[in-house]
């Protein structure tokens, strides 16, 4: 990974797109990468379309401008795809990962996306099942690690678990649910045939 890998997250205010980018960066840092995580700042409203970003590299990252051509785009909320061009600037050999119960083929047809690889994972259903609430950002981390191959999954799980243990010492049930959600999402990502 000589060059910088750029990742863009799409979500709605309150869905945790910013937190996902921060968590991913923190996990990647612990595994020895140089990282950036930053949100796009506009008016902060629940439900409004928001974006956040990650940069990852084996070398120091000095660039501090916006991101126009990401390698990977993640969509936390599929209802965004009607109004936001989530594939904008996505590299032709890049990957689009969508939280949906639909297949990658259906998403490609519906959103009329040409080029790039499309992956789907039902992160909302996984979150409801494992965490008890529709917070798709943590399961999407699992899908991201699977699709990108950027981090060692077992190492990442171990690391995230340790961090959650520190953060939610008084709520251990949250930790188990989140970790299971990440694992399930990792194992159930669907690609195009």
């Amino acid at each position: 990974m000589g060059k910088i890998i750029e990742i863009r997250w799409h979500g709605r205010g309150g869905q945790g797109a910013k937190t996902a980018a921060l968590l991913f960066a923190d996990a990647a840092l612990s595994l020895g990468k140089y990282i950036q995580a930053f949100p796009e700042y506009g008016p902060e409203r629940m439900g409004a379309p928001v974006q956040s970003f990650n940069r990852l590299s084996d070398n120091p990252i000095t660039v501090h401008c916006g991101m126009t051509n990401p390698q990977i785009v993640l969509v936390l909320d599929p209802t965004l795809m009607g109004s936001v061009d989530v594939a904008h600037g996505l590299l032709a050999d890049g990957s689009l990962i969508v939280n949906t119960s639909k297949s990658p083929q259906e998403i490609r047809k519906e959103a009329n996306i040409k080029g790039a690889k499309i992956f789907t994972v039902d992160a909302s259903a996984i979150a409801i099942d494992k965490i008890g609430r529709n917070i798709p950002n943590t399961p999407m981390l699992g899908a991201l690690v699977k699709v990108s191959g950027l981090l060692d999954f077992n190492e990442m799980i171990k690391n995230t678990e340790e961090k959650l243990k520190k953060k939610f010492a008084h709520k251990p049930e949250i930790i188990k649910g989140n970790i299971e959600a990440v694992k399930t999402a990792h194992d159930s990502v669907k690609g195009e045939k």
Binding site: A21, L22, A25, D26, L29, Y34, I35, Q36, A37, F38, P39, Y41, I61, T62, V63, H64, C65, G66, T68
Partner: protein
């Protein structure tokens, strides 16, 4: 040395926790809110011994800082944009009373129109108030600069307040890898805060803030001017010591691939990081491009800049603020003035850019370098002052 993932604001707050100042008086403002918000959490959790004064305005914040510093405390605060402007009545009093207050400043555009994003108008507007000003390129530098500022401002030959800045949102809200120091390392590095001329020292009473008219006011301005002069050497000494201890090197300026450069970009803050990428690309293509980063804006490193640019043919001077003088931005104005007596100097073009957070992309910097290449080849500057990236 702990390796941490921190935003610029978190890095500054972490430095404040480790510094453990006696008093922090602050009022929140975007995008600097988190600095004092996170720090107030440290106070609430008992991780610091600081007396946190939650005031009702930035004017009061700086007033409380001056009072606490005059009593002999180590004092810090943080602010941005309009907050810094509301402090501005007290800022020159802090320097005139020789109080080494350290301020975490997050660069943000000035109203109006209202805008929360980065430019340097706020910091530049208070540049003539006797405060040391250090710009940070990233979260690591924000952390290191705050620590070094404690040493610089408290030095007996300086005793001036200082601010370290980050670029709003671009750095303040961008999480990056930083190498922090251990808590005890910071404690050992900074040493005990030495009280000087405390108003609470009954054995050695002092008068602060007295009326001072035609007979002595001028004489009392001179030590402030001297102290700012002295601060240059102190900043360099502190940087040298910091590098020896922790390995990260700083100066008044930083040269990046400048030694043999024919064209150069001169900038402050986060733009320098983006420029490095473009310079690396240009170097691969055989173009001799370089960067001159201005780390310290006050005191202004005039001689160092003149020397660093003496072999450059054409340079782009990047100002993230205008000052309505029709003479370009503040960096250009001072740099151009510094060049007046220089025998060998580059052609200069001023680019006023990025106001109100307007993006400065890799392509933008490529374009600026291309214009410098043209200027170097033709020996002519196309347009002395450009407002770059503004729509017509």
């Amino acid at each position: 040395m702990p390796i941490l993932a921190k935003t610029g604001n978190e890095a500054m707050a972490e430095a404040m926790r480790q510094i453990n100042p006696d008093v922090v008086a602050a009022y929140p403002i975007t995008p600097a809110t988190e600095v004092v918000m996170i720090f107030s959490g440290f106070v609430a959790d008992g991780l610091v011994d600081t007396e946190f004064v939650a005031v009702e305005s930035e004017h009061s914040a700086m007033s409380a800082c001056v009072g606490a510093a005059a009593a002999g405390c180590r004092v810090m605060t943080g602010t941005s944009s309009q907050g810094l402007q509301l402090m501005s009545e007290i800022l020159p009093i802090a320097s005139a009373l020789r109080q080494p207050i350290v301020l975490c400043e997050v660069n943000r555009a000035l109203s109006g129109p209202i805008n929360i994003h980065c430019d340097h108008s706020d910091t530049m507007a208070v540049r003539d108030f006797g405060w040391i000003q250090i710009f940070s390129e990233n979260a690591q530098e924000a952390y290191d600069n705050i620590l070094q500022l404690i040493k610089i401002t408290e030095n007996e030959s300086v005793r001036l307040p200082g601010m370290a800045t980050t670029d709003g949102f671009i750095i303040s809200h961008c999480m990056e890898k930083i190498e922090a120091l251990d808590d005890n390392e910071v404690k050992e590095y900074l040493g005990e805060h030495k009280k000087m001329n405390s108003v609470l020292d009954l054995d050695k009473p002092v008068t602060l803030g007295a009326l001072d008219l035609q007979d002595y006011y001028f004489e009392h301005k001179m030590p402030i001017i001297e102290a700012m002069k002295n601060s240059k050497d102190v900043i360099l000494k502190v940087a040298k010591d910091f590098a020896k201890r922790y390995g990260r090197e700083y100066g008044l300026i930083e040269e990046y691939k400048l030694a043999d450069a024919e064209i150069a970009l001169v900038a402050l803050g986060s733009t320098c990081g983006t420029a490095r990428v473009v310079i690396d690309e240009l170097r691969e293509k055989g173009v001799k491009a370089g960067l001159l980063k201005i780390r310290v804006f006050r005191p202004f490193p005039a001689e160092e800049i003149v020397k660093a640019l003496s072999k450059v043919k054409a340079a782009a001077i990047m100002d993230r603020s205008d000052m309505y003088s029709n003479q370009g931005g503040p960096l250009f104005s001072e740099l151009r003035s510094a060049m007046y007596e220089a025998k060998d100097k580059p052609l200069l073009t001023n680019y006023v850019y990025g106001l109100g957070g307007r993006e400065i992309s890799l392509e933008d910097i490529q374009k600026i370098f291309a214009e410098q290449k043209e200027a170097a080849a033709s020996g002519k500057v196309k347009q002395l002052i450009q407002h770059f990236g503004v729509r017509e």
